[in-house]
């Protein structure tokens, strides 16, 4: 029997304690925002928070979670959008979007421990999260914006103003 919190709600699980958190969240609770990518902790799609740490839920057995507090992408912005989600929208980060829950959860754990991350900090924290669409330039920009607490200015926007102006023949 494992008792733990998911997004602030008390949960109890009484079956195979080796069940990975990912499949409990998706198939039992119906929290579909945490996504399956590799099943081996190699891609980061399934990243959630256990306490303050970003973990790969696909390789986190429920047995390890007794008494823990789990936060998923659905719980991240419980009081409105998280600053990272706002920055993600302003930089139009997502393409297919499938990996973005994990990217944002990973970035949120980074900012919680390092509110002003350097490029090297971002590399270290985010290198485990794959994006096949190639949204990395915007992920980096969005993390920096969220860390700055500012709105993006024209120069910080993903789309250069020159590009915008040239777009019409």
């Amino acid at each position: 029997m494992i008792d733990f919190l998911v997004n602030g709600i008390q949960r109890r699980f009484e079956r195979d304690p080796q069940t990975p958190l990912l499949w409990y969240l998706r198939d039992e609770v119906g929290l579909m925002g945490t996504r399956f990518g590799c099943g081996a902790g190699l891609c980061g799609c399934c990243t959630v928070h256990v306490g303050k740490d970003a973990v790969r839920s696909c390789v986190t057995p429920l047995a390890s979670l007794n008494g823990a507090s789990v936060t998923t992408i659905e719980g991240l912005g419980a009081k409105g959008l998280h600053p990272l989600q706002v920055a993600w929208i302003e930089h139009a980060v997502p393409q297919c979007g499938y990996c973005q829950s994990g990217q944002i959860m990973q970035a949120a754990a980074l900012l919680a421990s390092k509110p002003q991350p350097t490029d090297a900090d971002i590399d270290d924290a985010m290198a485990g999260n794959l994006c096949r669409c190639g949204t990395y330039p915007r992920i980096r920009a969005a993390i920096k914006q969220a860390a700055s607490g500012k709105k993006p200015d024209a120069a910080g926007k993903a789309t250069p103003a020159a590009t915008e102006a040239k777009a019409r023949p």
Binding site: W23, W88, G97, G134, A162, P169
Partner: protein
């Protein structure tokens, strides 16, 4: 977000996002459409010109027939309609055109295929026309009500105005009457200089859903009574399923059924996917692997290299007399090239949910081709197409994997038929990497000859590999041959002026499935061509950019894009000592893209890519930021491929299985990417360029050309990781 969760993801049939997230509605109801098989079915009320439905509350629903896999067409295609509709963009809500209704109503939404970067360039005219038709119907309805000439009415921002009398009426009040009016045959379309929406980077509809974890993908489907399936196909390509011992796992927790899937795979159905996957790993299975013995990358390479000298070939383009030119040349350069198989590795592994009962089938699919899925399901189950409903979901990546290769749909419905309940099938990553339809392994032999003044007098290229059309689309073959394998060397897309030129293809098919991979055929042929052009420039003792310029004198678009890339990159003058440049230009999907790669090579032979300058001419631009995003995506995917991407075969098995041995580019390897859009414009009834793929082909050659500049080593086989580099 907890509230959203409760509201949207736990709803029993939930798969939709409404007003809260900006209006993404995927239109899914768990029911069999009643409209099936009624071609005379009247169009629904408030529907204008098939593409637009205006509701009484002023919501403007715009249908999207293609599929969004991250390329942004769920926003860009409605923009094309709305440009002419003159509606209030804030009220627009995109919706996938229903696939079953499409068939029942004689295909009012045209082609649903989403490959070949086709969405904008293949639909822009009829979508703008539909918007103009809908606007004309609304104007006609208003004029009739006011009993005034329609010419006196104007439409703007979802309001029709009669200036003379000062009367106004909103679209929502007109839609019901307007829907009953005839659809005008001819409508005038705006001139590009009058566009107000097209050309603006407005926010995309589904961004918020994607950053808040909303259930918009096929893998997120939840249905009452739904079971889960894990699948394993014979690990040897060309092999078969022999037997399995279901008794060993039938008593495992949650397991409901163990069943064969066709004659090549086995599935376990359980009450959770984890249980199904655990049982599958424990299931004793015997495969017929005899066909795999000795079948490896090495044996395939041997066959392909023989094709370089073969005579059973097809000629793609033949200019002048290349053999005579080479025979009399003062200098001849010849080189062999090779690229490996590549996997798509969509972040959402292959998945499909199906419910098959009573001679009917309903499918939730991450499909690039909704009609194709419907046809495949009907054929697999031997059902009339009118008995099949396909719900299109957003794709967690496509890149060509989910277009004509619908193997996942076949498996899902075969399993669902045997089970009789809704079943969600999900592949493991290992299954996904080992059973892809790979970019083909291809070899090339290229020869060029120069006269005494160093002018190029002859060039011939032979490519050899497995045909994608032969595997997935034999209907596109011509006389049993696949011309597309020579794309990038054909008259339409090889714009270098060479007095004597030959391109030929030797088809050598085998059991490894091949398919459409982003930048189809141009991704390898662009590498062959643009790297060999660099070899030619070197042989002719000329700068590779200026060498290209001379040969492109008659190709003004390519020349302009190439020049802009060289200018933006400050060609010939990299900013930092030790940094070297390479350049390439490829014409593809009616777009032209040139890139300059800047990199350095360390003493240990480590390559660091510092900067990629990308210039793209897509002719016209609907959503500039999407074009930038697609170029970034193409460059990141291209970098991963050129640096480390490879799929290899041993005894019929794929040797890679997950992201540890099939690595993708990671954020710390990212260079600075600069994208410049230079749309050449012109007559909007003529060609528009595609942007989903055109940024990928120049990357690999520009990169290896920069490696040559840095090291003097000519890279002719990929990936780069197999080469030991030494800085010059």
């Amino acid at each position: 977000m907890t509230v959203l969760q409760a509201k949207f993801t736990r709803r029993s049939f939930a798969f939709g996002i409404s007003a809260l997230t900006g209006g993404l509605v995927l239109g899914v109801k768990h029911e069999f459409a009643d409209a099936q098989g009624r071609p005379d079915m009247p169009s629904p009320p408030r529907e204008l010109a098939a593409w637009v439905v205006i509701q009484a509350d002023e919501t403007i629903v715009i249908r999207v027939a293609r599929s969004d896999m991250g390329q942004g067409i769920f926003t860009a295609l409605p923009m094309l309609v709305a440009e002419e509709l003159e509606c209030d963009w804030a009220r627009v809500r995109p919706e996938y055109a229903p696939v079953a209704e499409h068939a029942a109503r004689n295909r009012p939404w045209g082609n649903m295929v989403t490959t070949d970067s086709i969405s904008v360039r293949g639909s822009h005219e009829y979508l703008r026309k539909a918007g103009a038709q809908a606007r004309a119907m609304l104007l006609a309805e208003a004029a009739a009500r006011w009993n005034c000439p329609v010419e006196e009415c104007t439409a703007k921002n979802s309001v029709v105005t009669h200036a003379a009398s000062g009367r106004t009426v909103r679209y929502g009040a007109l839609a019901e009457g307007a829907a009953g009016r005839p659809i005008p045959g001819t409508v005038a379309l705006k001139r590009p200089q009058d566009w107000k929406l097209i050309g603006r980077s407005i926010p995309q509809f589904d961004t918020q859903a994607k950053v808040t974890g909303q259930p918009i993908y096929a893998i997120d489907i939840r249905l009452p009574g739904m079971l889960y399936a894990a699948v394993s196909a014979c690990p040897v390509h060309g092999g078969k399923l022999k037997s399995f011992d279901a008794q060993k796992v039938l008593s495992s927790p949650g397991v409901r059924q163990v069943l064969p899937v066709g004659d090549t795979a086995v599935a376990i159905v359980a009450t959770s996917w984890w249980q199904a996957k655990q049982a599958l790993e424990a299931l004793p299975v015997t495969w017929d692997e005899t066909s795999g013995t000795g079948f490896s990358s090495e044996s395939i390479r041997k066959t392909l290299l023989q094709g370089l000298d073969a005579t059973d070939v097809v000629i793609g383009q033949h200019v002048g007399d290349v053999e005579a030119a080479l025979a009399s040349a003062a200098k001849v350069v010849t080189a062999d090239y090779e690229v490996p198989y590549l996997a798509h590795a969509t972040m959402e592994p292959q998945t499909c949910t199906a419910h098959v009962t009573d001679g009917r089938a309903e499918v939730w699919a991450p499909t690039q081709n909704g009609e194709g899925t419907l046809g495949v399901v009907a054929k697999t189950l031997n059902l009339d197409p009118s008995k099949v409903v396909v719900h299109k979901c957003h794709l967690g990546g496509g890149f060509g994997r989910r277009g004509l290769s619908q193997d996942w749909a076949v498996q899902a419905v075969l399993i669902a038929k045997a089970v009789g309940q809704p079943v969600k099938m999900i592949w493991t990553r290992q299954e996904d990497i080992t059973h892809d339809f790979y970019r083909p392994m291809v070899v090339a032999r290229q020869t060029a000859g120069f006269d005494r003044e160093g002018r190029l007098v002859g060039w011939k290229t032979r490519v050899c590999g497995a045909s994608i059309f032969a595997r997935l689309a034999p209907q596109f073959m011509r006389n049993g041959q696949d011309i597309s394998m020579m794309n990038g060397f054909l008259k339409a897309d090889m714009l270098y002026a060479v007095p004597n030129f030959d391109i030929s293809y030797a088809m050598r098919n085998n059991a490894i499935p091949v398919g459409f991979w982003r930048g189809v055929n141009y991704s390898q042929n662009g590498f062959f061509r643009e790297t060999f052009i660099d070899e030619m420039a070197h042989a002719a003792k000329q700068d590779p950019y200026r060498f290209r310029r001379q040969l492109l004198a008659q190709a003004p678009r390519s020349l302009a894009v190439l020049d802009e890339a060289a200018r933006r990159a400050n060609w010939g003058h990299p900013r930092t000592p030790g940094v070297h440049q390479g350049i390439a230009v490829v014409e593809f999907d009616d777009a032209v893209c040139a890139q300059v790669v800047e990199l350095s090579v360390s003493k240990d032979g480590e390559v660091r890519v510092h900067r990629v300058v990308c210039v793209i001419d897509p002719v016209f631009v609907v959503h500039p930021d999407t074009v930038v995003a697609q170029m970034e995506g193409c460059i990141v995917q291209g970098l991963g491929a050129v640096l480390t991407g490879e799929i290899t075969v041993k005894d019929g098995r794929i040797e890679q299985s997950n992201f540890h041995d099939c690595p993708l580019l990671r954020i710390h390897e990212l260079p600075r990417i600069e994208t410049y859009i230079v749309p050449s414009g012109g007559d909007p009834t003529q060609r528009w360029g595609g942007v989903g793929e055109s940024g990928l082909p120049p990357l690999a050659p520009a990169l290896v050309n920069a490696v040559f500049a840095a090291t003097g080593q000519r890279i002719r086989t990929l990936p780069l990781k197999q080469h030991k580099l030494r800085p010059a």
